[in-house]
Structures are given as structure tokens and as C-alpha cells.
Amino acid sequence: MDLAIETINLTKHYGNKVGCADICLRVPRGQIFGFLGSNGAGKSTLVKTLMGLLFPTSGEAWLLGKPLGDIGVRRKIGFLPENFRYHDWLTCRQLLDFHASLYGMSNDEKKRRIPQVIKQVGLSGHERQKIRTYSKGMQQRAGLACALLPDPDLLFLDEPTSALDPLGRRDVREILVELRAGGKTIFLNSHLLSEVEMICDTVAFIRQGTVIRQGTLDELRSAEINVEMRLEGLTEQIRGALAGLTLSLYIEGDTVLANVSKDEDIPLLAEAVILGGGRLYELNRKRSSLEEMFISMAQEGTNNAGHH
């Protein structure tokens, strides 16, 4: 398989603290890859390591087939950092000219490419304004323009729509989908799960510095069987029985959300309620949304941490 990103046991420690540990990722070319995790889970550490901002403690990684640290391959990589800040005393056009120079683009390439990316991110008519006069959303668009300058084969975007309004988000989604159609690979780090769900082909979840699940959205969804029940007379006995049958259990009022590993467990849930003296009004097998998967995995982590 032609991989855009491959990491083997990539690890970064900050002294005794783990930034990320034994990360193994395989991202095929031509995909939008969503990288998900709670705050402090290690997402930015991984991105910064792949971008050469941090030096890995151990492990290996390849970007577009070249080992981490290869300077040449960076001509085909774009990056929009989470806390984007640019030389705000430059105009947008001057900023893009500077970044184009960093990419080693010729004057002819600059003349062709700079107006293209300005138009692509919707900043036409504003290119002669200084960056400092831009709104946060416009600055983020300018940052995206910098990342798109070399017509990158691989694009790393860390929370690329955090400062954008809904229209801006839609614009960025359209750009990303268009890039994918052109065979580009996009590594998307985002908390906006609905957005990730809309455009990502594969996702990985990171928790406490370790990737705990990775796959296509359908694969991940099929691995999760969620059941929602509405019942009355929930006793400690029923709660205990349900807890024994489920991977995770969430109770709010008369609604129980359970996560089981196989279909055969579903009738057992109903049985546990009835045998425990409860009255079951409704039982639905649900398809997990990305948000539910995210919360479930984050809670597993909290529970595990609690047990430790």
C-alpha cells in the first residue's frame, strides 16, 4: 500500500512525562485522516514530531516515503498549526511571497500560485491588507493559504476551522474534499467531530499518548454495538447485572446507554432488566456517532485511570 504517513512505535517523552508513546499509524495516500483525542491526549505532540518541531525519543516515521527529518520532502508538505501566528506586519501577499520563498518556489511559480491560493481560501480583495488588520478567521484562512502554497501532496491541519464561522467551515471542508479528489492526503486534527465524520475516510483515537483505535469510520462503528433502553424500576441489582454484560454503561434518569461487544449480548440486557424486576419500555440498537465513540473511549480511559 502506498502510504502518505507511516509511524512505527513513535514515542516522545518530555522528561518523565509521556507526550505520545509507541504510535503506529498507517495513512494511505489520497485520504482524509482524522486524528482524535481529548485535550492533552498527545495529538499536538504527534503532529509537532511529524513536522520536525519536536525530536522523537524513539521510533521511526516516514512522510511520503521519506524518513522523518528529510528536508526535500517538505516541499510537498503543507502545515497549518493550531496556534497559528504569522508575521502580522506583512500584507497577506507579502506573507505568501515569504512562505513561497521558504518552499523554494521560483518567481514564475509565485506569480502563478499566490493568486490561486488567495482565491482558493476566499481572501481575494484582501491580499494587500496587513495580516494584523485581519480578523482571526481571516488569519486562519491566510494560514491555510500558506499551507496550500506548494500544492502539497500531504497536508497537516491542526484545528483548521477553530476560528471560522459556519460558512468558513463549509468552505474549508469543500477545499479539503477537492484536494482529496486530486489525490492529496490530509491529516486532520480536530475537535469538531461532526466535521470529521462528514469528510474523514479513516480516523484514529489517541488517549494518554497512545493510539487506542484506528480504522475507517464504518469499521469503528461496526466494532461498537450501542443499545439504548428506556426502563423503570432500575435497581442496584439490575445496574450490577448490566455492568457485567457491557463494555461501558451510561445511565441518565430512566435511560440506559450500553455498549456491548457482540449481538448476542443484546437479549441478555433485556433479560437482566426483567429478571431484576425492572420494566422495559423501549430497547434500540443504535449506530454510534463519532461523538458517542469519542465519549465512550474517553470514559473508558477515565475509568481505567480510576482503577489504577
Binding site: 519536536l54 528536508i71 496556534n83 515569504f98 521558504l102
Partner: protein
Amino acid sequence: MPAIIKITFREALGRKVVLISLILAAAFLGLYGTGVHFVAGDLARHPNPMLAQMIYPQLLSFGLYFGGFIVSFLAIFSAVGAISSEIESGIIQTIIPKPVRRDEIVLGKFLGTGLFLALYAALFFTVIYLLIHLKTGMELTGQWKALALFALQPVVLLAVTLCGSTVLPTIANGVVMFMLYAVSIIGGMVEQIGWLINNATLQQTGILASLIMPVDALYRKIVHLLMNPAANPLQALQQMGPFGSMSEPSVWMVVYAVLYVIFFAGMAVYLFGKRDI
């Protein structure tokens, strides 16, 4: 690297550092020129020509000393956050992932800022030199070498400040650099007193301070070059006072200053090359 040199230069222009520096230089040189003009006018009418021979060198060294002071301050302020402020703001995160090596980033900043500072210092020196030469008629020697050393002064400070900027936060770096600069200034004065009263301990303390930060030693060398003792029997009188140079720093001190620049520029490259951002 050319892109980094260009943006560093452009930053000095865009952030009005050049403009403000030139306005302040004009203010300083205007004031200094006015002083030189009136002193020269009065001394020309004075019956004792010896007085002019004693005061003109003082005027020159005074101008060079405080001119060097201004240029040195500019060097520290220009470089104090060259790397650290970009790390603190996050700008560096948009530059490192580009196809440029980290050493190119550091050296580009060094060359861009160094060129600006050297040109600024050269301009400063030239105006002071011309003011003294044209207004007082004083015959000065070794002006080209002196100009080169005057331009080297801020580059020395730039190298060490840039190195500090790769490992220290901006404010901490500023504090350290001003203390280092103060060590150089005070060391130079102490050494000067040491030669006046012939105290070896004070002389050695001054030399040690020059090894820690050779900027003041360069200044003393400049003064010696311009007022060549062989050309003037009143040299001992001319070189007295805090801005004089009782003992000429050897050529090895100049070599040391150049090596000092290379070492700290190299250390800046090395330290930034290893640093996690």
C-alpha cells in the same frame, strides 16, 4: 537562507526599527555635531593651541564611546528575541516545517541582522569621523580599520545575544545580555584605571572582562588606531580619562573577537538544532 535574510531585513524596515534608529541617530549626531561645532569654533580662537590638542581627542572618543553604546543597545534589542519571541508567539512553527534547515534559519537571522547593524554602525562611525575631521581639522589615522572594528562591535553582541535567544526566554536573555555588556564596560574602565595607577590586578580584571565580552576592548583598539601614538607626542594625555585607551589591545584581541563571533553563532546553530519547539 536568502528568504530568512530578506525577511529579517524586511522586519527591521516593516517594524520601523530602521526608521526609529535613524531618527535617534540623527538626534544624537545632531546634538554631538552642534557640540563639536561650537567647541571647535571657540578653540580656534583660543590663544593656547595645546588646549585644542587635548580636547579634540576627548570629543572624538566621547562620540565613539556613546555612539558605540547606542549601536550596542540596538544590537541587543534587535537580537534579544530573534528566536525566542518567534517560539513564544508560535511563528517559528510555521517556518521550521518548511524545506529549510534549522541552521539556515539561525544563520539567516544572524546575517540579516548583522548586515543591518554593521551598516548602521558604519554610518554612525562615518558621521562622527567626518564631523571631527572637518570641524577640528584633526588628523586621524587607520580610519578604515577603525570603521571595520566599529562595525564588528554590534556583531559581537549580536552573536552572543542570538545564541542566548535560542535557549532563554526573551526577557531573561535581555537581562543576561545587558549584564554581559555591563561587565565589558565596567571591565574596560577598570582596566583603564589599572593602567593609570599601574595596578596589575585591575589590568588583569579588565582583560578577563574583555575575554568574557570583548566589545569594550574593540572600542579601546579603535581609539588607538585613530589616534596613533607615533603620530602624536601628546598621546598619553589624549588617552587619559574613561573614554581613552592607555594600553592598546593587541591584534590577538581582534582575532579573539572574530573567533568569539564564530563560536557563539555556531553555538546558536547547535543549540537551536537540538531544541524541541
